[in-house]
Each structure stands twice: as C-alpha cells, then as structure tokens.
C-alpha cells in the first residue's frame, strides 16, 4: 500500500466502520424484534409449547435433527414434521425407538411421559405455523 495511506487512516477506517456497522446491526435486529409478533405465531405459545421446547432441549434433539434447517444433518428436518407425519405418528414413532434394524441409523429411547410427548407435539405444531418465508421448499424438509 502506498505511503499516502497511513496506518492511522487505516485505524480510523477500522474503528469507524466497526462502530457504524455494529450499530446498524443492533438497529436492524431491534426493528426485527418489533415486527416479529406478525410472524412468529407467539399468540399460540401455551404452557404445553414451552414444556415441549424444554423436552426438545433436555434431550438434545438438535444433536441429530435440524429445526428450521439448523442443527445436525443426521436425521430429518422437524420444523414441518407435524404437517408431514401428524401427532399420532410422531408419538408412536418416538415410543417405538430404537428400531434396532441392523445397519440403520438409530434413535435412542428417551422414556418420555404422555404429557411430555403431547407437549412435544404442541411445540412442533407451533413451530410449523411460524411464518418462515415458506421454507423448506417442500414437505420432505
């Protein structure tokens, strides 16, 4: 770089742009949190949904599955599983694990109670109804 472009100019560009873009990010995220109620389906967050999210977290479901595309890529997407499979199938599936089919990927048995299974379904139902710009592209997730 030429000598007319000095280190203190470079420094000022760094601090100036870092501050500017950080404040811009903060401002935009703040705006996002303001308009979020139109999209995030929060009016349907019931105690059952909250319990469902707790069950989801306490059993580290994200360690194999994705939820809205985020997580591990070992097992199917679950943000739309409520629509794809329905609550009866989901419950029966979790209760039937592991399948012990030789060579197949295995899901552990988590010994969830009826209440926890129903709550997990409520959580999946709520997530499915979040306005997420029509992702995933189709029902297969």
């Amino acid at each position: 770089m030429s000598t007319t472009f000095t280190k203190s100019m470079a420094r000022n560009i760094f601090y100036g742009s870092a501050m500017f873009f950080f404040l811009l990010l903060v401002g935009l995220v703040f705006h996002t949190t303001r308009v979020l109620p139109e999209r995030d389906n929060r009016e349907n967050i019931t105690p059952a949904v909250a319990l469902g999210k707790k069950v989801w977290e306490d059993n580290n479901c994200i360690g194999c599955h994705t939820l809205m595309g985020e997580g591990a890529y070992f097992a199917p997407e679950l943000a739309n599983v409520y629509e794809r499979r329905g609550p009866i199938f989901i419950k029966a599936w979790i209760q039937a694990q592991p399948t012990r089919v030789e060579g197949r990927r295995q899901m552990p048995q988590f010994n969830l109670s009826e209440e926890e299974l129903d709550a997990l379904n409520e959580f999946f139902k709520w997530v499915n109804e979040i306005d997420d710009a029509n992702w995933p592209p189709n029902i297969q997730g």
């Binding site: 770089m1 985020e70 199917p76 710009a133 297969q140």
Partner: protein, 464 residues
C-alpha cells in the same frame, strides 16, 4: 523465548493438541454412523458423538487462542505476563471443567445431565454448540474474565501495539458475545436470532480479529517485514471483516421467522465476506515474498500460508456458494452446510492455532526452530491433513448437491432417509478421507518426538 512467563503457553498448546486428537476420533465415529447407522449404538448415540466432536473443537481452539495470547502478549508488550500463576490456575480450571463436561456427555443420558446440573434454574442447554451445562458456561465466563484481566493488565502496563490491541479486542468480543448463550427465551425465533449472536459473531466476527492478529504476529517474526506495513494491512483486513461480517449475520435470518428484508441484507453483505479472506491470502504471500530475513522455522511459514489459502477457500469460497438467499432456500441445512463448516473451521481456526503452535513450540522447548527431520514430518502432516480436508469437503459437497436435488428440487421429492441411502457412497469416501486426516494428525503429533536430539535447522548461508 524472550520472557520467562511466556512458558505458560506450553500447557495450553499441549492440551489443545490432546483435545484435537479426541475431536478427530469422535469425527470418525460419526462418519461411520452416517453409513453404518447402528455403529456403537446404544453406547455412543450420534447426538452424543456430535456434541463431543463440536465441543472439543471449540474448547481446543479456545485453549489455542489463550496459549497464543500468553505467548504473544509479553513479546508485544515487552514485559512479563501480569500473573503467570493466574494463567496456570485458569489452565487447570478450564481443563478439569472441560474434561468433566465431556465425561458428563459420555457417561449419562443428556436429560440426566441437565437434571444433575439443575438446568431448570437457568435453562441454557440443548442448543447446537451451546450444549454445555449452565454451570460449565458460568465457568467459561469466569475463566474468560480472569484471562482477559491477565492479558489486559499486561498490555496496559507495557508497550501497546496494534497486534495486541486487535487481539485483545477479539478476545473481549469473544467473551462479551458468549453472554448471549445465557439468553434462551421460549420463543424459538428470538432464541435463534440471539443464538447467532454467539455463533456468527464469533466465527465470522471477533474470531477473525484473533486470527488476523496471530497471523500478523507470526508474519512479522518470520519475514522481518516492517511492523508498520503489517499493522496497516491488519487494520484494513479486520475493517473489511466487520464491514461484511456484521450485517452478514443476515444470511442466518432467511428462514427462521425473521422479516424478508434480511434476504437482501444477508445476501449482499455475506457475498462480500470472501473479500477480507482474499486480502488475508494476498497479505500473507506478499509479506513472505518481501521477507527481509530467512527464518529457520520453515514449517511455521507453511502453516501460515496454508491458513490464509484454506481460510479463503473454506470460509470465503465455500461460504459464498450457498450464501445467496435464492440458493440457500434449497441448500439450507444440507450437507453443503456441513462441507462449508468443515473446511472453514479447518482453514481459518485449526490452521491459525497450528501456525502459532508451530512458531512458538520450538521456542518454548528451548530453540528457535526444530531439526530438519522434525520439520519435514510436520510439513508432511500439513499436506496430509489439508489434502484430506479438501477431499472431505469435496465429498460432502457431492453428497450435498445430490441431497438437495433428490429431496428438494426434483419433480418427486423423496424422504430424507431414502435420499441418505442413495448418497452413502459419498459418505464412505468422506470416511476414508477422514482416516487419511487421522494419519496426518499422527504424523503431526509424532513430529514433536522425532529429531529432538538433532541440531536445530539452520538458514542456508548463501541466501540473502
């Protein structure tokens, strides 16, 4: 080694390498489970192996960053570390807490671990990369504060250079943004928005400041190029990192319930994210070409140049291929993401930690450079691991393209597991590439034990 207290870096580097080995072994287990689904089930379910794999990565990189800071800052500040005792105490606290957490993952079901550690008091567990029990997270904060205090005091009392200020800024950002891991609202959309304030603002923000600072330090030492020149580059590069990376956060806000304007912001700014990485490559090669001295540690130069190239490919190019929102609509959460994640972490962060270890470790063991025999083995390990990682990335990219096509683009989209079965050939090849990576890692570890009785490498007298 110019200051006695730099020696505290050594246990940090040794721990980093030890945990790196563990990370790779669990990676191989997971790679196997992708093709032989019931491998090691129920002893090590996939979610446990993945948690161990990713958490070990994060922890060993943090050990590497801290070791780097303890080595670099005294030389930059031209004085001994504020408190070597504190540095050593924090080392043991961090190591024991980390080991207990990993053992917790392996020995009890995750739900039991959550209960044992009273997660309900302040629920933070069960989120990707932030799986650590809340008590461990608090421990990380304590270690980070003690570490920042130690490094901060050393800088304050000594010479303040651009390198140490940028490093300190990066480490401070690392600690501050980690605090968002304690925010876990029931509203999943808010949870995800601020989860990215830890994850994205770390790896595509403040960690790049740490990366730039370590790279600049090593380049000054091995090339002898004027500090003014290198520090000017450093400022420009990290300015571009934050100009592109901060609003680049938007590429995670496409499909999680956030407004659609993020598709524009995220696409435009994250499309520019390769620029600082490209500048880093140009910078590293430029400085090495303009070197004013020959450094006998040839291996360190190789790691530094390799880091700049692989970071550009992994973070820059492989990030770009799926960052535009119309593309990401199809690739989001597929093996394309996995491919990018592997090469980006390896290129940017694994290689920068191995660069500073390669430069510092011979000095910590009492000489400027290792013997030729040791360096040759170390350079073999660079090529084996790097080429293996290129192939891991290519195979995962192949798997990802097929997955996206069969599951999301083709006329009759097929279910997830049906698609996984069809792409298993790519997973087998990825696993084989992973074994070659392990061979490279074995060479790397061995290089510390060979040729230590032979004389240190010398600079050929004919070169200028």
């Amino acid at each position: 080694m110019q200051y006695q207290s730099q020696a505290v870096a050594k246990p940090y580097f040794i721990a980093a390498i030890g945990l790196f080995i563990g990370q790779i072994l669990f990676g191989l287990i997971m790679g196997m489970q992708y093709v032989v689904g019931d491998f090691l089930f129920p002893e090590i379910p996939f979610n446990v192996a993945r948690m161990v794999h990713t958490n070990l990565l994060i922890v060993w990189l943090l050990f590497g960053f801290m070791g780097a800071a303890y080595f670099m800052v005294p030389e930059e500040a031209e004085r001994d570390l504020f408190s070597p005792k504190l540095a050593l105490a924090l080392f043991w606290i961090f190591l024991v807490a980390g080991a207990l957490t990993i053992l917790g993952y392996l020995l009890v079901p995750y739900a039991a671990l959550a209960e044992m550690t009273h997660n309900d008091l302040l629920p933070t567990m069960g989120r990707e990369f932030l799986e650590q029990p809340t008590i461990t997270k608090l421990g990380i904060v304590v270690v980070a504060l003690g570490f920042l205090f130690n490094i901060g005091m050393t800088v304050l009392k000594g010479r303040k250079t651009v390198i140490s200020l940028v490093l300190l800024l990066g480490l401070l950002g690392l600690a501050v943004f980690f605090l968002f891991s304690f925010y876990n609202p029931t509203n999943l959309v808010l949870d995800k928005i601020f989860w990215w304030w830890v994850v994205h603002l770390w790896v595509e923000g403040v960690w790049e400041l740490i990366l730039g600072s370590i790279l600049a330090f090593v380049l000054i030492k091995i090339t002898g190029v004027d500090r003014e020149v290198i520090e000017k580059w450093l400022y420009v590069i990290i300015a571009m990192v934050l100009v592109t990376g901060l609003l680049g956060t938007g590429h995670h806000y496409y499909w999680i319930g956030t407004p659609e304007y993020w598709q524009w912001i995220g696409s435009v700014f994250s499309a520019l994210e390769p620029i600082p990485f490209f500048m880093m490559t140009v910078f590293a090669f430029n400085m090495v070409n303009r070197r004013r001295r020959q450094h006998p540690n040839k291996a360190a130069t190789l790691w530094a140049l390799g880091c700049s190239v692989m970071a550009f490919l992994g973070a820059g190019v492989w990030g770009f291929i799926h960052t535009l929102s119309p593309v990401n609509f199809y690739t989001h959460g597929s093996q394309i993401t996995a491919a990018h994640g592997h090469m980006a972490f390896y290129g940017a962060y694994v290689l920068i930690v191995l660069t500073i270890i390669s430069y510092a470790m011979p000095q910590l063991r009492g000489r400027e450079a290792n013997s030729n025999r040791s360096q040759v083995l170390e350079m073999w390990s660079f090529w084996l691991m790097t080429v293996s990682m290129v192939f891991i990335t290519l195979f995962l990219t192949g798997a990802g393209i097929l997955q996206v096509w069969l599951q999301r683009v083709a006329d009759n989209p097929q279910p997830f597991m049906v698609v996984q079965d069809q792409i298993s050939l790519f997973y087998w090849m990825r696993e084989i590439a992973g074994l070659f990576f392990l061979i490279g890692l074995i060479c790397y570890v061995t290089s510390f034990f060979v040729g230590s009785k032979e004389p240190a490498a010398q600079v050929a007298p004919t070169t200028v």
